[in-house]
Symmetry: C2
Subunit: 187 residues, 2 copies
Amino acid sequence: MNTRTALLDAAEQALRSHGQNGFSYQDLSKTVGIRTASIHYHFPSKAGLIVALIQRYTADVLEALEDLGRSGSTAGQQLRDFVGIYRAALNDGRCLCLCVALLMAPDDVSADGLAEIHRFRAKELRWLERLFAQAQADGTIQNPQDPSAEAAACLALVEGAQINARANHDTAAFDTAVELLLSRTRG
Amino acid sequence: MNTRTALLDAAEQALRSHGQNGFSYQDLSKTVGIRTASIHYHFPSKAGLIVALIQRYTADVLEALEDLGRSGSTAGQQLRDFVGIYRAALNDGRCLCLCVALLMAPDDVSADGLAEIHRFRAKELRWLERLFAQAQADGTIQNPQDPSAEAAACLALVEGAQINARANHDTAAFDTAVELLLSRTRG
DNA sequence: GTCTATATATAGATAGAC
DNA sequence: GTCTATCTATATATAGAC
């Protein structure tokens, strides 16, 4: 196992659980098994580590969404899959989406990091808009409204649902919050 | 002006902007104009300060909701007012609801503080359930579903909308996210 | 690449003078 | 109630040996 990858994995888990200011090189040191000075060899600054983390995470999520878009599934099925991605990210109510976790303290994120996050969220919104436009055509989401309003509401809902779930360390709170949205899907 | 109140005000603003770990007694010292040792006279520990903050904040919000409930307004109007409270709390896209800001790092909140937050959120959900039950009777919210599912979705949505707004330091992002919900209100 | 040792900054908190 | 002075812990980060 690559040390750099192990560090990124440990940092991602810690950041999504405790926020950017909620973990230190000391914590990573214990998890990965090397001294803090050695971590600085791989990632000279914590800000740089976090930018690397954002790049890896957003690339993975965007690839998953592109795969979904190419799957040929109905809009309703893609919406269920999209919600499922955010549900799985919860990790039994302990974690948030990396970008949401970072946006809890936006002033502590480097300018580079923030720019990456904004690019990611803009792409995510465009993906959702395309989804709700498809829904107007295939009819697999009940009572479809303006795609851009639907997309913004959908993203805010799943992010709020994550916060609710982690507040109780309970995935069920997530399910309750998205129940209404999912009940609109047909086929 | 009471020093204790000035400290609470400064701490609330700082916490809602930067999170629990994003402000220090040093910061409060600069804002209020007394030394950090003097702050410890009013609030011996930071954890105690935060519990006091939660108590003041949740009491204020719950009182506002009770006033709304007694106002005799339609369910649609009360929902618009409810969303308006979360919108006003944004403070031009710089702040979150205190409890949401704290739930970003739940492990750093004292057991007392967490208990207060959970009590508050449970009451808020009950208030919303009552609202959506009223909507089924007075018909001022379109297409009403199960009140408890509506309540959970509504709370998650406004909280997610706050995060979206602060990500861009822009209240418009909040408005976009809640547009669909508000468009369901009639009269 | 990883280590020990260390530098530097800042955090929350306490003692005791005024 | 507020101050100066200080304690202790922890943070990010660097220098230089191995």
